[in-house]
Amino acid sequence: MCCLGRIETGTMLRHNSAERGGRGKTTVIELENVAYSYGGGELLTDITLTVQPGSFHFLTGPSGSGKTTFLKLCYGALQATSGHVRLFNRDVRGLGRDDVAVLRRKVGVVHQDCQFLDHLPVEENVALPLAVSGQDAGGDDANLKELLAWVGLTARADALPPELSGGERQRAALARAVIMSPEVILADEPTGNIDWEMSQRLLTLLVELNRMGKTILVATHDLGLIRAAKAQVQTRVLRISNRRLQTAGADL
């Protein structure tokens, strides 16, 4: 059994199988008639979606269509103007900021611009979720090293984030996103700044996580990435068009 961060592969695979067999009982993310307005204009409207545990979703759409906003609604960084966003069956609207923070520990987020604390080495940045949640990182040293090895950053553990290449930053962000063994991983244009080869490596990691039972939701306009994923794992492709969420056609 392999351990990645706090992810125990064997256990999670069993969990994954069970969830796949018993879908409908619990949902990871649920959006019900959600609308979001900004600056007087409606950016998203009438969005309804249920994300089941262990599923792999892609979210596509032209630039500025609201993909990032959609993801932020999913992890509680933004509040819907109307409708309901439920994270692990809890309505985000009724939660305080601290409650959202605790819920967010169950959601790993990878941004296109990979925000890091530039004055801390990669190792500490990856372990940051443990530190902020008050968990003793001492016992997780082995897991941390294994996690860094999994994303191929062992040799860069002591480097500062500005010293990393685009691909290394994305992998470090992914490692940070999964160190708390979150149930869902949201990635916003994770391959936007990296070359094709590196995006394939990143996809391999995401597919591996999904096989461990993690729910994956990736916002991207990289159709090649979506096709490559579909060849490896069952995915659902969604598209934001004209402020609404649609299921993408079979051409994807």
Binding site: R97, A101, Q115, L120, E124, L128, S133
Partner: protein, 301 residues
């Protein structure tokens, strides 16, 4: 963010990892250190001023309250007779312990500061002064004046009330001013630390965004800033207080000639207040940073 003392006190708990998440910022660090240093230095002087004024008010109140002066202003030939008559009246007045006519030498000493030592006092038509010592309860001034008017018409009783009271009031107000200065210094410290904390929080908006992204609660984020600013203020306050104490010792020691100015010292329990200046500076910084962090985190939410 609501302010509650329990969570704020918990923020002071040492957490090396939490302290490292905020990058060191030279400008705000120096500003906080310098503000705390300057304010603690000024607080030592304000405290010394307030205490010196308090001591002066106390001394004037105690010393002058139990003494009066009788002045005999009569034609040269009647001064001696009226003095004797006045002394007889005084010595039989309830509430008076002692009454003594000042000698010419004593009167010369009183005038010397204004006219010099070589004043030809024998040739001047000076009134005769009688020094009166009272009991704690004092005497009936109105009744005494009536009796003196009959026995020694040239006698004028001065029970010091006319000029003692304004002096005591002045000293008391000086003491209040000293404490008001300390309050202003405290408010100024809070304002300066709030400005520095706001600057640090604004400069670290990206850090706050990252911490929120990985699930940090507001308390965790605020505590990293609160601890840092409280510690800086404590350090600056300690150095400022120490420098203030040294400066007080540099002032020349008290003498009658210099009077009040050289009495600017800390005595007795006053030292307790001085020792409290650094921790109070740290506490002010802690509360100010807590409020600033609460407001900024609310704005960044």
């Amino acid at each position: 963010m609501k302010f509650d003392f329990r969570s704020t006190a918990q923020m002071l708990r040492f957490d090396e990892k939490a302290d490292r998440v905020v990058p060191p910022t030279g400008f705000t660090a120096r500003l906080t250190l310098f503000s705390a240093f300057a304010m603690a230095f000024l607080a030592v002087f304000a405290l010394a001023l307030s205490m010196a004024a308090g001591r002066v008010a106390e001394r004037w109140g105690e010393e002058l309250a139990q003494s009066s002066t009788l002045r005999i202003s009569a034609p040269a030939g009647e001064v001696a007779a009226q003095t004797d008559a006045a002394l007889r009246v005084l010595r039989t007045t309830p509430g008076i312990i002692d009454a003594r006519a000042l000698t010419l030498e004593e009167q010369r000493a009183l005038l010397a500061p204004w006219f010099g030592d070589d004043l030809p006092i024998d040739d001047l038509p000076l009134p005769q002064l009688i020094d009166i010592s009272e009991t704690e309860d004092g005497f009936d001034a109105a009744g005494l004046r009536l009796r003196l008017a009959a026995e020694a018409p040239g006698a004028v009783l001065d029970d010091h009330a006319r000029w003692r009271q304004p002096l005591i009031e002045a000293a008391t107000r000086l003491r209040v001013l000293g404490w008001a200065s300390i309050l202003l210094i405290t408010a100024a410290t809070a304002a300066m630390v709030t400005l520095a904390a706001n600057a640090a929080l604004a400069a670290n908006a990206q850090v706050i965004a990252v911490l929120r992204l990985v699930g940090a609660k507001d308390t965790y984020i605020a505590s990293a800033f609160v601890r840092r600013f409280a510690l800086r203020a404590l350090t600056g306050g300690a150095f400022g207080t120490l420098t203030g104490i040294i400066a007080l010792f540099v002032i020349p020691s008290s003498s009658d000639a210099a009077g009040f100015l050289t009495g600017l010292t800390i005595q007795g329990v006053g030292w307790v207040w001085v020792v409290l200046i650094p921790p109070l500076t740290g506490l002010v910084a802690l509360i100010a940073t807590r409020f600033a962090a609460g407001r900024v985190l609310e704005e960044l939410a």
